[in-house]
């Protein structure tokens, strides 16, 4: 009985995946909008709105980073590693089946190590670099982009981490955290775009589904890759940086 049920679920899943691929290909736009919303792309009102929303997180993150460096300077190098991870991963534009490229976020690792608010700072540094030097994202949209990559992704992932930590094998929880941090970044970007540009006929939801359909196909394989990489590096930390991880209470999770 349960076996047949499982097969049915498998079919359903396969059908859903096929459908989402078809949906993505049905649209003439081969390339989905990038994860970083480009400069001047959001109407002024929305740009300001996301800046205002992101601001408290930056302040909180800044305070936490200062506190961390002040109280436990020995963790500075590990903080650098977490920031470096975000830098490397967000520089890697990886091809996807939609015929465009997108990049992972790298925020999951820092979230596990230092919590979501510190990552808000790390992620925003990477975003500023890309906005100023690479014309990738922008200053007017920095609030919105930070909100998706540096704040909401890590926040959702951290909630999940608190929930799962110690209950399932470490590798699995680390994988899921990185996976979820990556995916929820794109879900947030989708929401931001759909809010600013609702479909004239179907409104917010129609717009949202359209963007989400494209993003899902692009981003799920990437999120899996990011999950695997984060599991590998977290294991390397647990076995090489025992002292640091003990200080963070992460040695035996």
């Amino acid at each position: 009985m349960s076996f047949i049920k499982r097969i049915r679920w498998g079919w359903l899943l396969a059908a859903a995946m096929l459908l989402s691929v078809r949906v993505a290909w049905a649209y003439p736009i081969a390339a989905p909008p990038k994860m970083h919303i480009m400069e001047g792309f959001l109407p002024l009102g929305w740009a300001v709105f996301w800046w205002v929303v992101a601001l408290p997180f930056w302040v909180l993150g800044f305070i936490q980073v200062r506190k961390l460096i002040g109280e436990r300077p020995e963790l500075r190098l590990l903080l650098g590693l977490a920031g470096g991870f975000v830098f490397v991963l967000s520089a890697l534009k990886i091809p996807s089946v939609t015929g465009s490229s997108s990049h992972p976020t790298g925020t999951g690792l820092g979230t596990i190590l230092f919590g979501p608010f510190v990552v808000a700072i790390l992620g925003t540094i990477a975003l500023v670099f890309q906005a100023v030097l690479l014309a990738h994202g922008g200053i007017s949209t920095l609030g919105a982009n930070s909100m998706s990559m540096a704040i909401s992704g890590p926040l959702v992932a951290y909630g999940l981490w608190l929930l799962l930590k110690g209950k399932i094998p470490t590798w699995l929880s680390v994988f899921l955290i990185a996976f979820v941090a990556d995916l929820s970044t794109y879900i947030m970007t989708t929401t931001q775009l759909a809010l600013a540009f609702p479909d004239p006929m179907g409104g917010f939801m129609a717009s949202w589904l359209k963007f989400a359909g494209i993003f899902a196909v692009t981003q799920i394989p990437l999120a899996i890759s990011e999950g695997i990489l984060t599991v590998l590096i977290f294991n390397a930390l647990q076995t090489n940086a025992t002292i640091e991880l003990k200080q963070l209470g992460l040695q035996e999770v």
Partner: protein
């Protein structure tokens, strides 16, 4: 030192690491093999098109970037720079830990392997 360690995390075996790396390579290479006639650009222009298909009234961006790399070469150089900066920080950390471990080795112990 510590006596009651619950479950000391074990280092992944080489096989697990290799499998993970291969899986990541396959995930990235798969689209290159099955999708033809694409440059995998995902240019910013396409984003504007996407919005225009929803809202034809949407005009253009209201502000441009402060500075833009003059071309693809400069852009890829800067992306490489970003990756180098990150890679350096990661490599520095693990190198530091390795050196620390080596320095703590008992002088009587002649094994060089870590």
């Amino acid at each position: 030192m510590t006596t009651q360690v619950k479950s000391q995390p074990k280092k992944f075996s080489a096989v697990v690491v290799i499998l993970g790396v291969v899986a990541m390579i396959l995930l990235a290479a798969f689209p290159l093999i099955i999708v033809k006639n694409s440059e995998f650009g995902g240019s910013d222009g396409a984003g504007v098109e996407a919005i225009k298909s929803i809202n034809p009234d949407y005009d253009e961006t209201w502000i441009g970037n402060i500075w833009e790399p003059p071309g693809g070469e400069t852009e890829s150089m800067l992306f490489a720079l970003q990756a180098i900066a990150g890679g350096f920080l990661i490599g520095y950390f693990f190198g530091y830990k390795r050196g620390q471990k080596k320095a703590n080795i008992d002088p009587d112990d002649n094994s060089t392997t870590l």
